[in-house]
């Protein structure tokens, strides 16, 4: 199995995983590989490393995908038949655009954007990045300009909120109830009964009046748009559940990352979201096999000074500890999730930060089973 097979017939690929496992790089390598095979692909990334951003032509923060020029791609060893587009998400701007799109008129949109609560808090808090990422994905899907969209998501602790994003939009804007609650003399209070008045008084007492006023306005403004939001949230959910969507988990072989991947896989299953596979980066493959570490000293003797040979052995022993660790974690991952859907990328010598590097990762992701085994064998021999 390889990424091309996983993404056969898919229109959306969502890459999830915890921080520091190479999610952004993997997303870019997937997009590059699919573009190489003739598709028009856009990768939406959250926060690429500077040098990777440069390689993809993302120096300027734009909130629309830009095409990665043929010149840039020509540097690498891959012949790209299709088109690779990339964009870096600007959460604040995406949020504003979302308000613009949903507000009944521009006056209302401006009012919301000028509201202090919205301005100060809407993008600073956790969850806003997840929400905007999904909003952008939906928008790009609607525009239907691309064969495939690859989304690099924020780290998985927050991806919990990211998965909840459609639901959160709804609950965030349980506008009717809140509006009723906040309008002391309105129909709502009568509908809620006598209990509401002391609650409201209590709320004001505890929070302070100014904050309540701002919040009231904030919720009222948004609350009026509840129907549009709900409809949109339902459509986003539909997109995430579609047959043409694939969730790809990205992990390293370290214990915490594997724990997260397992947790994430379970979460996808319980939410009925389409799990497509796991890509494990930075794997320390077993180089020792059934040989004994003792044999190494003999094999090195004569070619290196004793001191250098000793350090090479020490290094190899430490490497082997990590290989054993990885092997253990990977079998756990294979048992918990579907073993056939595990794609391993070995620990590379340096951080991936250019098209060449992406091409190296790409080789492992898109290799046929036979080629992959040969690549690993090359590594060991």
């Amino acid at each position: 199995m390889n990424v091309a097979e996983i993404l056969e017939g898919k229109r959306v690929c969502v890459c999830c995983g915890s921080g520091g496992v190479g999610k952004t790089t993997t997303s870019a390598a997937i997009a590059l590989g699919m573009a190489a095979r003739g598709a028009k692909v856009a990768v939406v990334t959250i926060d690429p490393a500077n040098r990777l951003a440069n390689a993809l032509g993302l120096e300027q923060l734009g909130n629309e995908p830009r095409r990665v020029s043929r010149d840039r791609l020509a540097v690498g060893p891959i012949d790209v038949k299709g088109e690779l587009w990339a964009m870096m998400l600007d959460p604040k701007r995406t949020f504003d655009e979302l308000i613009d799109r949903i507000a009944p008129d521009s006056g209302r949109a401006e009012e919301i954007k000028a509201n202090r609560v919205y301005r100060e808090l809407s993008t600073a808090v956790s969850g806003s990045q997840e929400l905007t990422a999904i909003a952008k994905l939906y928008e790009l899907d609607q525009e239907n300009e691309f064969d495939l969209l690859v989304l690099d998501t924020p780290p998985s602790r927050n991806a919990l909120e990211f998965l909840d994003a459609p639901g959160r939009l709804n609950s965030f804007l349980e506008g009717r109830a809140l509006k009723a609650f906040l309008r002391p003399t309105g129909f709502g209070v009568r509908a809620l009964g006598r209990g509401a008045l002391p609650l409201l008084g209590g709320l004001r007492r505890i929070t302070g009046l100014d904050l309540i006023t701002d919040l009231t306005v904030f919720f009222q403004l948004l609350g009026d748009m509840t129907n549009d939001f709900s409809e949109r949230a339902a459509q986003v959910e539909q997109l995430l559940r579609a047959d043409t969507t694939a969730f790809v988990l990205v992990s390293s072989a370290a214990r915490e990352a594997v724990d997260e991947a397992i947790w994430f896989g379970e979460r996808l299953a319980s939410d009925g979201l389409p799990f497509a596979g796991v890509i494990v980066n930075r794997v320390h493959h077993d180089l020792l096999g059934d040989r004994e570490p003792r044999e190494l000293s003999a094999a090195l003797a004569g070619t290196l000074t004793p001191s250098l040979a000793g350090r090479v052995s020490d290094n190899f022993r430490d490497y082997h500890v990590l290989a054993t660790r990885d092997d253990h974690n990977l079998s756990r991952l294979a048992t918990q999730l579907d073993a056939r859907r595990l794609l391993l990328v070995p620990q590379l010598d340096d951080d991936v930060h250019d098209i060449d590097g992406l091409a190296r990762v790409h080789r492992y992701l898109f290799a046929s089973q036979v080629d992959r085994e040969r690549l690993i064998a090359d590594l060991v021999a």
């Binding site: 915890s18 921080g19 520091g20 490393a49 500077n50 609560v117 100060e120 808090l121 809407s122 600073a124 808090v125 956790s126 806003s128 780290p155 602790r157 927050n158 609950s171 965030f172 804007l173 349980e174 109830a177 809140l178 609650f181 809620l192 002391p198 609650l199 007492r205 505890i206 302070g208 009046l209 100014d210 904050l211 919720f219 180089l287 020792l288 040989r291 044999e295 190494l296 094999a299 090195l300 070619t303 290196l304 000074t305 250098l308 350090r311 090479v312 052995s313 290094n315 190899f316 490497y319 500890v321 990590l322 054993t324 660790r325 620990q347 010598d349 340096d350 951080d351 060991v380 021999a381």
Partner: protein, 309 residues
Amino acid sequence: MRALLDKRLLFVTGKGGVGKSTVAIALGLVAARQGLRTIVVELASQERIQGLFSENGEGEQFRELELAPGLFTISIDPQQAMEEYLRVKAGTLGQALGSSRLFQAFAMATPGMRELLSIGKVWELAQLDRRTRGAAPYDLVIVDAPATGHGVGLLRTPKTFADIARVGPIAHQGQAIADTIADPEFTGVIAVATPEEMPVNETLILADELARDELTLDVVIVNALYPARFETGEIAALQDALSKSRSNLARSALRAALSEHARAATQREQRDRLLTRVDGRLVELPYVFAEHLGVAELEVLADALEDAL
């Protein structure tokens, strides 16, 4: 670093995956060794730290638990923090509010409220005179804070709320917490980074953002630094041996050595980028080659931290 442990509240932040929790707990071990009653706080109900100390990680949720003599942990849940706050602040009325579904929905839907409630609980833990009845005070509270971007947001939330609310209890409480955070005698911020491009970038950005809020980055901890096993002058010998050796095993080992040398060199370039910025406040922690990061490995890291103090 001694001065670091003289503070009462430490925020440990950094990019995801750099070992924040590990460093927070190792720091907790150092503090507990020095006789400080210490608590390590996890936010957003992660509950991972317990798991480091006991495989089953069972136990009551969101309670203060003793991990080792003098070392406690708690995982803060915003909702529970809210109920507790309301109970203490507003008595029966608060209790009624806290159990109102509508009020809960309102509070949790308010942008920033989760952060405010979480940091409010952290603040409470750091008070000598604890709001929670009968609760013993801590000498040191170490917060395993969210990833860098969100971490700064967290530190900023109380001030933002204080500014927006202007008057009333939230403004009061927000200001009190903000003052505490701004007090360098009381509060410290520690950034953890692995010596790689992205974590280093984020740390540099964090330093800027903290400076903008007139907060200081007390210490940067470079985590998981590979040992410098080989001199650059030895690389030619390794390459030569690689080309000549006929043993697969020797070639694997030589390739692993060259690979680690390359990574170690890249790591040191990244560390040096940090050094130029935070000279004198940089602490290095070694890469732990272990199958599982357990108490023994945490003690090793604690030793390294203690030496750096």
